[in-house]
């Protein structure tokens, strides 16, 4: 019997979901006269009578104070009758096989009420007034259901039973590769969604020719996963011939010789100097980079991207993006505890009209909402505060939004390294394996097209945060009891990657039929490469297996032995005892032929931007209101940024907690005063002019943001995340190599090591334009630099809000005529100009001096100057402090436009009490500082240049401009 329980708002209660739909419809020009909504539950069981369904509804599903339930057999007329008005009914439900956490939980809770074996499904119902049936369907598709994961039903629901999968009949499959010509190989690569290159396909063909047999499907899939761009980073770790204005350089392994080489050099320098310490613990090898925190603990940091899944299904993509990086933390060393998260997004402007969207592209407004909600619902449920972030807008992110999810963890020093032992059992825990996320690793390495949605829908995953929280809880207990020798997460490539990586030095034998499945019907290959979420793989010595199982099951975490690390040097795959695949670990991990690429860089022309300013006040207000700069409070307050209790400097600071903090400060150990500092640097606008300067600026920004709140500049670790377009094109790859060279140079100069990184290439979207020609949009080269700093005593942390009238204001750092890529140029629509450069030696001196001043308690407030220059920095300090300021900026630069709006790096505005001015100036000896003005009680910002008035604005008007909604 299949029952439906609809939960409606009780009479007189507001239907918020309905109101929201009316509002979203209005935003796209559709006037609905009313909407009624309900949350539906489908209950399936032979034994369930109507009275039982009613009891479940009243005892469990409905909150009688604010809701009422309607119960009936699915298809019953009263279930589709509009609760009010004449609305057209549209129902949205997950497609079969898509993760439905609420249904899962409800099954458990229904069992607790005494009804065993009830299967549960969920749906959402909308009765729309003011549209006809086709209008309702069209709105449903545009606003409610995402075809990648959900189905839309117009009118009454006709459903016989809930989908339960169908049995799988085992059949060993081989793939014909021997004898294929090059075209045939490439067709196999594409149509089999392997996305391998010709040289790789040829290598595989030769390998099997030598063996004298065809590969099985699972062998080919394993190679494709392991050799994918996503898992092996073969382009950037490959051979590259790079040419720029200085001539040609050849790299055998580009990343190793740039970013990684800088870290190696720094560690060498530190170990050789008697008064220095190599504080890097584990870099570029584990799931996250690890550095020393204090005597007993290390901290780790990783930032991942989840761009392609978020383009297709923003909520699920971002949800599992954060879930994935949290598993990276859990899978670092013997398991680190997630402490805080950082999330950075790049979107097309949310104001983009629907009519301008190419086929297959979701409206940016919907992408942004979905991504924010996806991060919110995973992070909040996991109990990991999201403390830092940024959002960048550019038209070129239209088909390819970027979603960077990062997490910091803490791990005891003696649990920082892992080593699986021969003979250990391979144990999987957490979520069950389903068809979700098949081909995620290979898909993310391909270019998106308007067809991607239908071809790769399986690559979309929905998370179940509570499953991961349960895994988190048992993992940390098992770690502290020493129950296992190694752990890693199931990320891209699923079991295939996790077991392949862990067993690389040993060998592994896996029985695929052992893995618990969400539903019947999965083939052995699907089990092996599924990217179902919330799974971790452990290497457990046999003697601990029972204790490990008891611990997991005691907290409701499913646990299962899927094989053993056998010292054979081979990966052996079985299904119900039958051999289905065998690959030598050496071939799997080292057999891939090197990718060889050309890279060229031609400097962009730097025509001087002709920027004259008539009314600096209105330009300043326009900059504050521009979406990159404007307040992100709408996002920030949806994230729990204080859970775990370690919050010291929050994302919003100041008198009304409404000013933009430069960085977050968090105490990861509640019984210690030592803090970590998390910040980021990103500015794709500079990259259009020069990716070296973009990278240098991003590094400087991440470091100076850390320093601005009190981090010790001698202890800042960095992460790189390169998101680029199609790197098979020499100039695209050239612009990336140039950025990597900047990373190397700046890392060495700042003595700030890169400890981990990740790249996401092929961020291009191709579609058929009107007239049938193929067009492609590449994202702008986008490098996110994340900084992880440390502060010895959080009591010395500094915030950016102005504190007291009468205090003095100093500009720290040198100002140059650098308006290229600036926000002044953006709001004025001007191109060209000189993008900001970095002089790291000057900056290092300045950061060290400023840190000493802060540690001595000499700095009342400090804010870095970035988008919008000194003028915007002053404005933000005023609105955060609710105080005014008067400043004359002529000492910074002779040109008043440059003095106000140039975005030269390595600069701050500092507020100093007059009593401490002398001490501050002494502390800053040798650093370019200028006393530019003072803080006023009267809430007005006035900026002059050589006495000539430039800006005069009330703090209320600055605040109002800065609070301009993001358009969603």
């Amino acid at each position: 019997m299949l029952w439906e329980v609809d939960i409606h708002p009780a009479a007189g209660r507001v239907d918020r979901e309905g109101e929201r739909l009316v509002e979203s419809a209005r935003a796209i020009g559709v006037a609905l006269t009313g909407v009624a909504t309900a949350r539906g539950f489908l209950l399936e069981s032979q034994a369930l009578a109507e009275a039982d369904a009613r009891r479940i509804a009243e005892r469990l599903l409905a909150d009688t104070v604010v809701e009422h339930a309607v119960v009936g057999r699915v298809g019953g007329e009263h279930l589709s009758t509009p609760p009010a008005g004449n609305g057209r009914l549209v129902s949205v439900m997950p497609k079969p096989g898509v993760m439905d956490p609420v249904a899962q939980t409800t099954e458990g809770a229904v069992a607790e009420l005494g009804y065993a074996d009830v299967r549960v499904g969920t749906l959402r119902k909308y009765w729309m007034d003011g549209v006809d049936a086709s209008g309702a369907e069209s709105l449903g598709r545009r606003l409610l259901a995402n075809d990648a994961i959900e189905q839309l039903v117009v009118g009454p629901l006709r459903l016989e039973r809930l989908h339960a999968g169908s049995p799988y009949r085992f059949e060993l499959k081989t793939v014909t590769i021997l004898g294929l010509d090059d075209d045939g190989l490439m067709r196999l690569s594409r149509e089999g969604q392997l996305y391998l290159q010709l040289a790789e396909m040829q290598t595989i063909q030769r390998y099997y020719a030598d063996l004298g047999r065809e590969p099985t499907d699972i062998e080919l899939e394993t190679l494709a996963q392991t050799w994918s761009e996503h898992c092996s980073h073969k382009t950037l770790a490959g051979r590259i011939a790079y040419r720029d204005e200085n001539g040609e350089q050849r790299f055998e392994n580009m990343l190793k010789e740039t970013v990684f080489a800088a870290t190696v050099e720094l560690r060498r320098r530190w170990s050789e100097a008697p008064d220095r310490e190599d504080w890097c613990e584990s870099v570029f090898k584990d799931n996250a980079g690890v550095v020393r925190f204090d005597e007993t603990d290390n901290v780790c940091f990783k930032v991942e991207t989840h761009n392609h899944p978020s383009a297709l299904e923003p909520y699920g993509g971002a949800n599992t993006g954060l879930g994935g990086v949290l598993r990276d933390t859990l899978g670092t060393g013997l398991g680190a505890k997630p402490v805080c998260s950082t999330d950075v997004f790049c979107f097309a402007p949310p104001t983009t009209p629907d009519e301008d969207l190419p086929a297959g592209v979701l409206a940016p407004r919907r992408v942004m909402r979905g991504v924010v909600e996806g991060v919110r619902d995973y992070g909040n449920r996991m109990g990991v505060p999201t403390v830092n972030g940024a959002v960048c807008f550019d038209d070129r992110y239209l088909g390819n939004p970027l979603v960077y999810c990062g997490n910091v963890g803490i791990v005891p020093r003696d649990k920082t390294h892992k080593e699986p032992q021969p003979g250990d059992l391979i144990v999987a825990i957490g979520g069950r394996t389903g068809r979700d996320g098949i081909h995620g690793a290979t898909f993310s390495s391909a270019e998106l097209t308007s067809e991607s949605e239908s071809v790769s829908g399986g690559a979309v995953q929905i998370g179940n945060a509570i499953e991961e929280k349960k895994v988190n809880d048992v993992l940390l207990q098992a770690r502290d009891r020493g129950l296992y020798t190694a752990v890693t997460d199931c990320g891209a490539g699923g079991f295939s990657s996790a077991v392949g990586e862990m067993g690389e030095e040993i060998g592994a034998e896996v029985e695929l039929a052992s893995a618990p499945l969400k539903y019947e019907g999965l083939s052995y290959t699907e089990i092996w490469i599924s990217e179902a979420q919330e799974r971790m793989v452990f290497s457990v010595p046999e003697r601990n297996a029972e204790a490990f199982r008891e611990l997991c099951e005691g907290e409701g975490v499913e646990v299962c032995v899927i094989g053993r690390f056998t010292p054979t040097g081979k990966l052996t795959l079985k299904y119900r005892g039958e051999h289905v695949g065998e690959l030598p670990m050496d071939f799997l991990h080292n057999g891939r032929p090197p990718v060889v690429r050309e890279a060229t860089y031609t400097p962009a022309s730097r025509d001087p931007a002709s920027l004259t300013v008539d009314d600096a006040t209105s330009d300043l207000l326009a900059i504050l209101a521009s979406p990159n700069v404007a307040s992100k409070e709408w996002i920030i307050r949806q994230y729990d940024h204080e859970v775990q209790g370690g919050s010291v400097v929050k994302p919003l600071v100041g008198v009304g907690e409404g000013g933009p903090s430069d960085a977050a400060v968090v105490r990861p150990k509640l019984d210690s005063r030592r803090g970590i500092v998390i910040a980021c640097g990103i500015n794709p606008r500079y990259g259009d002019l020069d990716t070296y300067r973009m990278a240098a600026s991003a590094i400087d920004e991440a470091i100076r943001n850390c320093v601005a709140v009190g981090a010790d500049p001698a202890r800042i670790a960095l992460l790189d995340n390169f998101c680029w377009g199609d790197c098979e094109q020499a100039d695209t790859l050239g612009s990336l190599v140039r950025a990597a060279l900047a990373c190397r140079d700046l890392s060495l100069a700042y003595e700030a090591p890169f400890i981990s990184g990740k790249d996401s290439l092929n961020n291009e979207f191709s579609f058929m334009a009107e007239g049938g020609e193929k067009r492609s949009i590449a994202i702008p080269p986008t490098l996110l630099i994340s900084g992880l700093g440390q502060i010895a005593d959080v009591a010395n942390a500094v915030t950016m809000d102005l504190k007291r009238p009468g205090n003095l204001l100093y500009a720290v750092g040198e100002t140059h005529g650098e308006l290229g890529g600036s926000h002044l140029a953006l709001v004025r629509g001007a191109a060209g100009g000189e993008p900001p450069s970095v002089d790291p030696l000057v900056a290092r001196r300045s950061y060290a001096a400023l840190h000493a001043a802060m540690s001595g308690g000499l700095v009342a407030s400090c804010h870095d100057a970035s988008e919008g220059g000194l003028a915007a920095a002053l404005a933000e300090m005023c609105l955060a402090g609710g105080l005014g300021a008067a400043a004359d900026l002529s000492a910074l630069h002779d040109d008043r436009v440059c003095a106000l709006f140039s975005e030269s790096n390595s600069r701050f505005v500092c507020e100093i009490t007059s009593a401490q001015a002398e001490a501050f100036e002494a502390a800053m000896a040798g650093v370019a500082i200028q006393r530019v003005g003072h803080v006023n009680a009267e809430p007005t910002l006035t900026i002059t240049h050589g006495g000539q008035p430039c800006v005069r604005a009330s703090v209320a008007s600055l605040d109002a401009a800065w609070r301009t909604p993001l358009g969603c």
Binding site: D63, V65, T105, T106, R381, Q638, Q644, G645, V649
Partner: protein, 260 residues
């Protein structure tokens, strides 16, 4: 005398248990964090404790409704142990998700013959909201709020609006002195008149932020006192004098001192 023993109840999705343990320890209690499954296996364990705290988080994902699934589980498996615990002159505290659970088990006694008088439901604006709130406490009724008056604490919830069945239900709760914590605009007297957002961050009836039972020994509140036990947790500690320790610690000290 022996330190009072506190049980912080873990469950799938509870996520404020560690900082809650930290707050109780700072206050001088001995604390165990115990999974609800262990308590179900051996309900008698509860007798070893003087304080039961259900911490914040998203028990069972807040699937169906916030706190609902854990509340049903407790009702089904631990009804006698829980009643015995309260009748033994002991204390119960539910913070945020813990409040949602307590309210939905009925242990807060916000019910009459016709059913629940009140529930915790979606914030008026329909989203999760994290922000600091100004609160006014009624110190006379509730053990946990003794010597407290005006205090700031953060909220972080999506379903934190106290909705009442009807006006009569609200009157009943108010008359019983059960609304012991209210959102209040800074510098202004506490009022029952609905304050606008963000002073009342979720639209709660009578600006209610916390309810106690008839004995004053069971408290449920949406704000997080465990997130204000250190001055540096305050959002404006770099610009205003904020006393160390944070004012939220008083809630935990009151619990410990009750047994002194």
């Amino acid at each position: 005398m022996a330190l009072p023993r506190v049980l912080v109840l873990r469950s799938p999705g509870a996520n404020c248990d560690e900082e809650t343990e930290h707050a109780f320890r700072l206050a001088g209690a001995a604390v165990d964090r115990l999974h609800v499954n262990r308590l179900i296996e051996a309900p008698a364990l509860l007798a070893d404790y003087q304080v039961l705290c259900i911490p914040g988080g998203f028990s069972y994902g807040d699937d169906i409704a916030a706190g609902r699934v854990l509340a049903n589980l407790v009702l089904a498996r631990l009804p006698d142990a829980l009643r015995a615990f309260r009748d033994a002159d002991k204390l119960m505290l539910g913070v945020c998700n813990g409040f949602q659970v307590l309210l939905k088990t009925g242990i807060l006694e916000a019910e009459d013959q016709a059913g629940p008088l009140a529930t915790l439901t979606w914030n008026d604006h329909g989203r999760f909201e994290a922000r600091w709130s100004y609160l006014a406490a009624d110190a006379s009724r509730c053990v946990f709020l003794r010597d407290m008056d005006r205090v700031e604490m953060p909220i972080a919830h999506a379903e934190g609006k106290i909705a009442v069945r009807d006006d009569a239900a609200l009157a009943k709760l108010a008359a019983g002195g059960r609304i012991v914590l209210r959102y209040a605009a800074p510098g202004e007297a506490a009022t029952d008149e609905l304050l606008p957002f963000p002073a009342n961050p979720n639209g709660s009836a009578a600006n209610a932020a916390g309810l106690c039972d008839s004995t004053g020994r069971v408290l449920g509140l949406m704000p997080h006192p465990e997130r204000f036990v250190d001055a540096t947790q305050h959002p404006r500690w770099t610009r205003e004098p904020v006393e160390q320790p944070g004012a939220g610690l008083r809630v935990f000290r009151n619990a410990v001192e009750y047994f002194a």
